[in-house]
């Protein structure tokens, strides 16, 4: 059973901050509840007041019109999965969302809630990290935007102040010749290993590349040597395969957490397998955007 709590349903950010202040340190914001209600049921967290942010207009909507993709925090995984605008602007994100957890979690779980919970196996966090996205936070003192690497501080820990609300995510639009892709291997609901690749192709060669891994380490991580190993390679099958092999060697230094999904060595191996397929998917998109 979920422990008792009072529910506030504010209609504006100002009302939400007021409700949080009124809870005297015993409040928490809730959106889809797929993570928060779960930990409350398990007795890992208890709050006297939950403040439902689903009624806030500022946290809604998808906007791809201004050279960036802005996704409101309470947008559900399912809405992203079915968004024609995001499919055109960022097909890799739609593909990722189609495979988050299960259809019920996708119907209720939100992108903002997923990022704010900072579960180390988050699918979107890894791809958004590689994509140089910013999370937008707003509190009584004002608004700010942080890169994922600045926002996620540890397992279930973020730079969000308790009174702040994650209002949305802003993702740079794909540049000419850019491709972004995500791949994962999952034996249970959450991934055992995941890899995200963002790269740019010009004149048949990779000119820029970022590689991020998820679920291996305590936080999603950019593996700079892996990205560097891809830069300069031609995208024909043979040189690309050689570059991918060099890039995946960089995973050997990762401090992969051993758990039910497998040993550290096994997870590093999975990441290498994923890097190959994910790189090729990113190159395909990059070539299509040339």
């Amino acid at each position: 059973m979920i422990p008792r709590f009072s529910l506030a349903r504010p209609r504006s950010l100002a009302e939400a901050f007021e409700a949080f202040a009124g809870a005297g340190g015993e409040g928490a914001y809730i959106a889809g509840g797929t993570e928060l209600l779960q930990v409350m049921k398990m007795g890992f967290a208890q709050f006297e007041t939950l403040i439902d942010v689903k009624g806030l207009d500022e946290l809604r909507g998808i906007d791809t019109s201004e050279g960036a993709i802005r996704i409101g925090a309470t947008t559900t995984h399912r809405t992203i999965e079915r968004s024609a605008d995001i499919l055109a602007a960022f097909p890799g994100l739609v593909d990722l969302e189609r495979h988050v957890a299960n259809v019920r979690v996708r119907s209720t779980g939100t992108l903002g809630g997923n990022l704010a919970f900072a579960e180390p196996h988050s699918d979107p966090a890894t791809l958004l990290l590689a994509s140089d996205a910013r999370v937008e936070l707003e509190g009584p003192a004002g608004a700010r935007a942080l890169r994922l690497s600045e926002f996620i501080l540890g397992p279930l820990a973020t730079a969000r102040e308790p009174e702040e609300i994650l209002t949305g995510v802003r993702i740079p639009a794909a540049r000419r010749g850019e491709g972004r892709a995500y791949g994962k291997i999952a034996f249970f609901e959450r991934p055992a290993a995941s890899v995200a690749v963002r790269l740019t192709v010009a004149d048949g060669a990779v000119t820029e590349a970022t590689v991020a891994v998820g679920s291996l380490t305590e936080v999603p991580l950019i593996v700079k040597p892996a990205g560097d190993a891809l830069v300069g390679t031609e995208v024909d099958p043979e040189p690309l395969a050689n570059a991918i092999a060099s890039a995946s060697a960089a995973f050997g230094a990762l401090d992969a957490v051993e758990d039910l999904n497998g040993s550290s060595d096994y997870k590093r191996h999975l990441a290498g397998v994923l890097l190959a397929s994910t790189c090729r998917a990113a190159v395909r998109e990059a070539t299509a955007r040339a």
Partner: protein, 170 residues
């Protein structure tokens, strides 16, 4: 004691006005207040799908969905599938294909598949498998369930493609 909240929702076509505590889940309210015990709470962690019900047509885990969030919305449970005692084509297909044994997962399977077929009336076998990925069954091995969903789709759409897909998938 936190305040009770007044909500109204339509369940299987029937309107209800209820006064509920914020912590009550949709599964609690449907089972304990409305005696709709078709949905089962099994894992209680959104993994198994036995508590699947539809809210405004979308499958949700009743075990982890606050009943207050159903305020003003339409809820469907397995009890709402049959009309005037006549099973839905999907329910009949589950019987015809022996798509259950113990039956514990069946209400959730039926609701997930109902939503799937409403969204994709003529799904491929792969789409059915993807759609049902979050519903666990420990009896059937799933093949008969996927067959049943494809058969119901073929019956509704009269498509020849689904039968071929069923055979190809065996």
């Amino acid at each position: 004691m936190p305040d009770l909240i007044a909500i109204s929702m339509v369940v299987n076509g029937r309107p209800y006005a209820l006064s509920i505590a914020p912590r009550e889940t949709l599964a609690d309210v449907l089972r304990d207040r409305l005696a709709l015990t078709g949905l089962k709470v099994s894992c209680n962690a959104q993994v198994c799908g036995a508590c699947t019900v539809l809210v405004d047509g979308l499958p949700v885990s009743g075990c982890t969905f606050l009943a207050v969030d159903a305020d003003g919305r339409r809820v469907r449970t397995v009890e709402g599938l049959a009309i005037d005692g006549e099973l839905s084509p999907l329910q009949q297909a589950f019987i015809d294909h022996a798509a259950f044994q113990c039956g514990f997962c069946t209400p959730g399977m039926l609701m997930t598949a109902t939503a799937l077929l409403e969204e994709h009336p003529n799904p491929s076998r792969a789409e059915v498998v993807h759609g049902l990925e979050g519903n666990l069954c420990r009896c059937t091995g799933y093949a008969s369930i996927v067959d049943a969903v494809l058969a119901a789709a073929a019956l509704a759409g009269g498509s020849a493609g689904s039968d071929a897909a069923t055979e190809a998938g065996r």
